[in-house]
């Protein structure tokens, strides 16, 4: 440290000016982005305002929404939020466990284990989630297994996401170098101790941000479970509420807002977790 304290504390004016210029540029950019968002949002509101605009011969009508219907049924729809969140959390837990097992299987050198893992991932990724959900409701009872709508939905979602997320965990496990395993074995750790104490903690740390993304996607894909008619989450309520009175659009609009706000909140939590993980990045 040859630099004296005063020199370090007061940077040259030129550096200061450059720094300020950059800060100003960034602030201007952010302000403009925020204003544009506001404009787009207002435009969206305008689309649903029910206005008719005539310019000469040409008229443009926007979508009519029954506001009293919305205010009357808002609470009913909101009542599905809890179920949506519950399904999403349970499903991501199931998915995480399956993904980890599938990833370990994929890295296994035992042929049947490797085969089981790749078969599962291939089957699930090769068919639509929507179809899988129906399959669970329709096929399991024939096997004599009767599950509640929520449980079957969670299983279907968990199984599906588990297949996709196995790639994340595989990448996480592969990110832990061979040297780590060797160092653990050299001090006498057994393979299971090595996995538990050395490999998994590092792999999971790697997998946290992408798992967050999957969870955010999951909250919206949980809507597909509504199709079976047995799980009264957001989407089910949204489609049910206005059907009799031809207020379909109002229900969907309300659900859309709930989903969007939920995603915005989750995304901000996610980016906070990512910043914290990046800070502790070693």
């Amino acid at each position: 440290m040859s630099l004296s304290k005063e020199e370090a504390a007061s940077p040259t004016p030129q550096a200061e000016l450059l720094y300020q210029a950059q800060q100003n540029k960034e602030l201007r950019f952010r302000t403009n982005v925020a204003l544009s968002w506001l404009f787009l949002l207002l435009f969206l509101v305008f689309i649903f305002s029910g206005q008719q605009i005539s310019i000469g011969d040409w008229t443009f009508s926007t979508i009519k929404i029954d506001r009293t219907f919305i205010s009357e049924n808002l609470l009913f729809i909101a009542g599905g939020l809890g179920e949506t969140i519950r399904i999403s959390i349970l499903s991501i837990i199931v998915a995480t466990i399956l993904a980890l097992l599938a990833a370990l299987g994929r890295l296994s050198t035992v042929p049947p284990v490797y085969a089981l893992s790749t078969f599962y991932v291939s089957l699930i990724r090769g068919t639509p989630l929507y179809l899988q959900i129906f399959f669970f409701f329709l096929a399991l009872p024939q096997l004599g297994i009767f599950l509640s709508g929520t449980v079957a939905g969670v299983l279907a979602l968990g199984l599906n996401y588990g297949a996709y997320m196995s790639e994340i965990f595989r990448a996480g496990l592969s990110s832990v170098g061979k040297g780590q395993r060797e160092a653990a074995m050299a001090i006498g750790m057994t393979p299971s101790q090595t996995m538990r104490r050395i490999v998994l903690p590092q792999a999971l740390r790697f997998a946290i941000p992408p798992t967050g993304n999957e969870f955010i996607a999951m909250t919206k894909d949980s809507a597909l479970v509504a199709a079976t008619g047995f799980v009264h989450e957001l989407m089910w309520r949204a489609t049910k509420v206005g059907r009799a009175t031809f207020h379909n659009l109002e229900g969907l609009l309300m659900a859309a807002i709930f989903y969007w706000v939920m995603t915005l909140i989750l995304t901000s939590i996610q980016s906070r977790i990512e910043t914290r993980l990046a800070k502790g990045d070693r």
Partner: protein, 253 residues
């Protein structure tokens, strides 16, 4: 003195590549042996066979009374390998510290998890080891905040805390910036002085000359020389050894 390490007729193949050819060697207790040779000569593989990070293809290894035949398999074989690993400490070229653990946790991991020692005793032991390599002042840091030389010193402490009979060093200074090599070599000299049996794969000729009791030279999977350092450096028997030493000499200038 009876040898503490005895490698007999060891062969190792990687597929069709014959990397160790009928290698035998003995190391006595408290002896420091340096293993030199060009890269690809099999010296690291030989070292890694000694704690079975590489499984030898043929021959046997005896370490502190535990004799393992390369041909054996099964549960008892695995148990014996485990015991050999408990008796050996290894230091790697790339340090291989656990990045998700603090320096202290890195050193405590073996005693607590492998030996089942209680936290308090393990901590005292770990702090003592860290102190002996001059790294106690960084015990709460994570490995990423350390220099290469500091990492390697912690790695040495991690191995020493398991109280091994033999320390295996696999090119411990090859990944270091030149100015950091000295601190690691000094720690290794200290460990040697304290009477540890050491087998060191290295390119550091000065270290070999100063610290080693014997220098073994490998070339293309064969052990071509086994002599005390002063003899080896003064009049190498094998032409290949001569060439190797010349190369190092010119590098040192």
């Amino acid at each position: 003195m009876a040898p503490i390490v005895k490698v007999s007729n060891l062969d190792k193949y990687f597929g069709r590549l014959h990397v160790l050819k009928n290698v035998s060697l003995e190391v006595s207790e408290q002896e420091v042996v340096c293993l030199i040779g060009r890269s690809g000569s099999g010296k690291s593989t030989l070292l890694r066979c000694m704690n079975f990070l590489e499984e030898p293809s043929d021959g046997s290894i005896e370490l502190d009374g535990i004799k393992i035949e390369a041909s054996s398999k099964g549960k008892i074989h695995r148990q014996m390998i485990h015991e050999v690993r408990l008796k050996t400490g290894m230091v790697f070229q790339e340090f291989n510290l656990f990045p998700h653990m603090s320096v202290l946790e890195n050193v405590m991991e073996g005693p607590v998890i492998v030996k089942g020692m209680d936290q308090q005793t393990a901590m005292e032991l770990a702090e003592k080891s860290l102190d002996s390599v001059g790294m106690l002042f960084k015990k709460d840091e994570y490995p990423a905040r350390l220099s290469g030389g500091q990492k390697q010193r912690v790695a040495i402490a991690r191995a020493l805390t398991m109280e091994p009979k033999v320390m295996l060093f696999d090119e411990p200074t090859s990944a270091l910036d030149p100015e950091l090599i000295g601190e690691v070599l000094n720690v290794m000299k200290k460990v040697a002085k304290e009477g540890m049996t050491m087998i060191v794969v290295t390119h550091e000729m000065a270290f070999a000359r100063e610290v080693a009791d014997r220098v073994l030279v490998m070339s293309e999977g064969e052990m071509i020389e086994d002599s005390p350092p002063e003899e080896l450096f003064k009049n190498p028997k094998d032409a290949r050894t001569k060439a190797l030493i010349e190369r190092y000499r010119s590098g040192e200038q």
